[in-house]
């Protein structure tokens, strides 16, 4: 590849100036003229029938303009793959926090007061919260009695289990011969692992502002990360024709997977249509916890057969994801979480069953890592236990069992762009794995540990991009890849700049408006750089093709001999033979005397489609099941207080292979952010429940790490391993989700190194550490 000018450079973020000056547009900051404020009355019960809804008193309250219930909406459900979720509860509520009645009023206060005047009569049904109880043949409650009548996506059809009425999807992988594998094994080790429910806690709560246009069209501004996905769900939920709905997403104050579903949009739109006035529906922080999606809590059983030398010969995994009341993106998580057990290790005989189980809890959805966090937690913890058992160094055990480039993994895919080994070695070195440990002070004991991670990216999937050339040499990129902090606008602009050989600041990005910007599946699954990046490259090529056709005549050289730089078309190798873009397609400018007879606008368009192979339903085998895998490793050094169980992270090092780093500093941002969120998941974050009601729906009691809990810059190191992917733009893959996954296992290993306890439940709260220490003492 020839030398790159913009790609691979850490240009400053496209959006930083707007963001440090407080001028960046966020929907939470939007207040439209004549706007109404929406509030929602939510179910106080985890599971109940709705007997009667009486809104008459609320309607009488001055300032109340519109009230919306399921009766006002089409009786249709929506969903990510399994169409099971109503916009508002119809005749039954399935979790505490499910929307039941929405009010639009002149002020937030009035709307709030109106809620207290609404009378809803319920008949409580038994609630089910534990997924292992819920997935029994005779559970205390069947949460979706009509499950089998729901429609679903034909792309990945669900598999139901006849004897498990609350299982909404069951994914299977079968590879080799498990029985034979276990027979070969010298040792069989089985363990149970769990992870807790987490909330994304985007700093910007979910919000939508909807305006019903007089012609019946709908405009919705929303803080979402899948602009077209949201549009689709809205159309499904409200039975609207897709051209009638315009979705606009300015900047998103954090996504992490939590803004892919219509949590606010449909209700805002419903109220706007009813009142004919703009409606703002903004979640309070409490609502984010009770009613937005969450990371599935999980119970995972891993049973491994290993040789004495540590070689894995058989692995059986059972993943139980607590999906909450509706399947949402959890429908896909059930399948894709499985890949956490696929992407890192070589296992000749493999069996996996993954279950999505309905319970009466908040909805399990997409969350940075999409199931891989849970499964990799279990796999990595299990690897450490095998190492303990065989008395092999955990790093050595991993080295022995890693996949390698070109090898077939348990899904039947060929391994590509596999940087795990390099990442592992880098981390081993940088964390000082083999160095003597720091001194312990009083009850504080030090330890180090390492965890690996892999994260697949979704396929099939597609992205489109449009390039418009400006007569002054600027390149305009139109994309619907949502900017939620991951830097998509910057990275995509870098790709366009590289393609046209212009400076980075000569690229303008137009993003996030379904009337203007072309289809994109969204900022999910660490897919944007790879997929939208590819689309941008193709669109640039399309624009250049047209440009060169025009220029060929003027420069008297064949199109294939042309190249662009700094807003001009050059004949390759002849710096003196060039023409400015503006001279090729300037639109009519009377004053300048340039009047073009044709081709006043130059638009390049392209669609990138990432294909997926057919997949066997019973064995999960296919030749291209995912777009790509990200691999990496994290090393952690911790201090554990033997008296109280408190764990402090002293140092964290992560190395990840993201293919080509289009913008290395932005990749570092993702790694560091992943470490931060990973530490939260590992040590602090857990939604607590009582009878289905969240006990800690606020930042006081739900503990997100602050700058004091994450080590400072001198103790956090990120390393980029460029294992280029043959299909990626400039070899790039993705990075967003990977790092969070390996942090928990690394800390777990470090705790063991410090005080000799193995924990299997995340988060590793101080009470859990304390209990394990007590057990060890006893």
């Amino acid at each position: 590849m020839s030398e790159l000018n913009v790609v691979g450079k850490s240009v400053k973020r496209y959006d930083a100036l707007e963001k440090v000056t407080g001028k960046a547009p966020f929907v939470y900051d939007m207040f439209l003229p004549d706007m109404l404020w929406a509030k929602v009355l939510r179910s106080p019960y985890p599971h109940a029938k709705i007997i009667k809804i009486d809104t008459t008193e609320a309607e009488k309250l001055p300032g109340v303009v519109g009230i919306l219930t399921a009766a006002d909406l089409p009786k249709t459900n929506h969903g990510a793959g399994l169409i099971d979720e109503p916009t508002m509860a119809i005749d039954r509520v399935r979790f505490v926090g499910e929307p039941v009645v929405a009010v639009a009023a002149e002020s937030e206060d009035i709307a709030q007061e109106a809620l207290t005047l609404i009378d809803v009569e319920y008949e409580e049904l038994p609630g089910v919260f534990d997924p292992e109880i819920a997935m029994q043949t005779n559970p205390p409650s069947i949460i979706h009695p009509d499950l089998r009548s729901y429609s679903f996506s034909p792309v990945v059809p669900p598999a139901f289990d006849d004897d498990k009425p609350n299982v909404y999807n069951h994914y299977k992988i079968r590879h080799g011969n498990l029985e034979a594998g276990f027979q070969q094994a010298d040792v069989v080790i089985e363990n149970r692992f769990t992870t807790a429910m987490m909330q994304h806690c985007q700093m910007e709560p979910h919000v939508a502002v909807a305006r019903a246009e007089v012609n019946g069209d709908i405009t919705v501004w929303t803080s979402a990360q899948t602009i077209y996905g949201i549009k689709q769900m809205l159309c499904d939920a409200l039975q609207m024709s897709s051209s009638k709905v315009r979705v606009i997403v300015p900047y998103v104050g954090g996504g992490y997977g939590g803004k892919v579903e219509i949590k606010t949009e449909a209700i805002a739109v419903g109220l706007a249509m009813k009142t004919r006035r703009p409606v703002r529906f903004a979640f309070t922080r409490e609502e984010v916890f009770t009613s937005a999606s969450v990371r599935h809590p999980s119970v995972i059983y891993v049973k491994d057969g290993v040789k004495k030398d540590g070689t894995l010969v058989a692995r059986e995994v059972k993943v139980i994801l607590n999906g909450g009341a509706y399947s949402a993106y959890g429908y896909l998580t059930v399948r894709n979480a499985s890949f956490g057990a696929v992407g890192t290790y070589k296992v000749p005989n493999f069996k996996l069953d993954s279950y999505g189980v309905y319970t009466n809890l908040p909805i399990g959805g997409a969350f940075r890592g999409f199931g891989s966090n849970q499964v990799c937690w279990a796999i990595e913890c299990q690897m450490d236990r095998i190492a303990d058992h065989l008395n092999i160094d955990p790093v050595e055990l991993r080295r022995k069992n890693l996949l390698s480039e070109g090898e077939i993994n348990v899904s039947g895919e060929t391994t590509h762009s596999y940087g795990t080994k390099e990442c592992l070695e880098k981390v081993v070195e940088e964390i000082g794995y083999n160095q003597p440990k720091g001194e312990s002070k009083g009850p504080w004991k030090r330890g180090r540990g390492i965890g690996l991670a892999n994260k697949y990216s979704i396929a099939p999937t597609s992205s489109c991009a449009i390039i418009k050339l400006h007569d002054d040499g600027y390149v305009e990129l139109r994309t619907s890849a949502d900017e939620m902090g991951q830097g998509s606008r910057t990275v995509l602009a870098q790709i366009a700049a590289e393609e046209f050989n212009v400076e980075f600041d000569k690229v303008k990005v137009v993003a996030g408006d379904t009337l203007i910007t072309p289809y994109d599946q969204g900022s999910i699954s660490s897919r944007t750089t790879y997929n939208t990046g590819n689309a941008v490259r193709l669109a640039c090529e399309d624009a250049k093709r047209q440009l060169f056709k025009q220029a060929a005549k003027k420069l008297e050289a064949p199109p294939e001999k042309l190249e662009t730089a700094n807003g001009r078309v050059f004949v390759k190798g002849s710096p003196d033979r060039s023409i400015a873009f503006g001279d090729l397609f300037i639109p009519t400018m009377f004053a300048s005397g340039k009047v073009l007879k044709q081709g006043a606008e130059l638009l390049g368009k392209a669609t990138w489609y990432q294909f997926a192979s057919a997949e066997d339903k019973e064995t999960g085998q296919g030749t291209r099941v995912v777009a790509f895998y990200i691999h990496g490793a994290t090393g952690a050094e911790v201090e554990v207080n033997e008296e109280t169980g408190e764990v402090r992270v002293i140092k964290a090092v992560s190395a990840f292979d993201m293919g080509k780093a289009i913008n290395p500093e932005l990749c570092e941002q993702q790694i560091e952010g992943g470490i931060g969120m990973g530490i939260g998941a590992a040590l602090y974050e857990e939604m607590a429940f009582d009878n289905g009601a969240v006990l800690n729906p606020n930042f006081m009691d739900y503990k997100i790490p602050t700058s004091r809990e994450i080590p400072g810059p001198s103790n956090v190191k990120s390393f980029i391993v460029e294992a280029n992917h043959p299909d990626g733009p400039f070899g790039a893959k993705g990075i967003g989700e990977g790092v969070t996954i390996s942090v928990g296992p690394a800390i777990q290993a470090a705790i063991n190194d410090a005080v000799g306890i193995r924990l299997g439940d995340m988060p590793m709260t101080r009470e859990r550490v304390f209990q394990a220490l007590s057990r060890k003492k006893a």
Binding site: L32, P33, D34, M35, P62, E106, V214, G216, M273, R276
Partner: protein
């Protein structure tokens, strides 16, 4: 007798009761637009010359830019936003303006429609002269008024038929 520089004023706009803090120097127009966000009513000249800010106070068309908001306590005000019914159906006057191509840039339209409404409430069968006289206080720069007059007649006819 207290001299006040601001006061909370209750006004009924399009059937909704608003309690707004109004300064002595606020006109009804600024209150409607800036405080209530009802920007359908337009600012054209600020001097009562163009009629773009026409609203109905207790049924009478007035230039809202000339009315002190403090004097509107208890008044019933209708603006263009209140014309279409809550299910989105256009008022016959609005429909007539659409049907008769009486709209071009659209900036004077709300004011003219409000003047029309005031006229047709009192006079169900206006002559062309009466129509011209009724919209005399509204300046339109695009249409040359012809289609507006037609639209008003058509609206009158529809309303009479009702």
């Amino acid at each position: 007798m207290e001299a006040v520089s601001s006061k909370i004023v209750n006004i009924l706009v399009n059937g909704n009761n608003y309690e707004v803090t109004v300064a002595s120097n606020d006109t009804l127009l600024t209150v409607l637009r800036d405080k209530l966000g009802l920007t359908g009513t337009k600012f054209g000249c600020g001097n009562g010359e163009c009629g773009a800010c026409t609203v109905l106070i207790d049924g009478e068309a007035v230039n809202s830019c000339l009315v002190l908001a403090l004097n509107c306590e208890g008044k019933e005000i209708q603006t263009i936003e209140g014309l279409a019914s809550s299910n989105g159906d256009l008022h016959p006057i609005q429909q007539a303006f659409v049907d008769n191509f009486a709209i071009q840039c659209g900036f004077c339209t709300p004011g003219i429609i409000m003047s029309t409404k005031s006229l047709l409430e009192k006079n169900q069968n206006p002559t062309e002269y009466e129509i011209r006289e009724a919209v005399n206080g509204n300046i339109c720069r695009c249409t040359g008024y012809e289609n507006i007059v037609k639209a008003v007649s058509a609206a009158a006819e529809t309303l009479r038929g009702k």
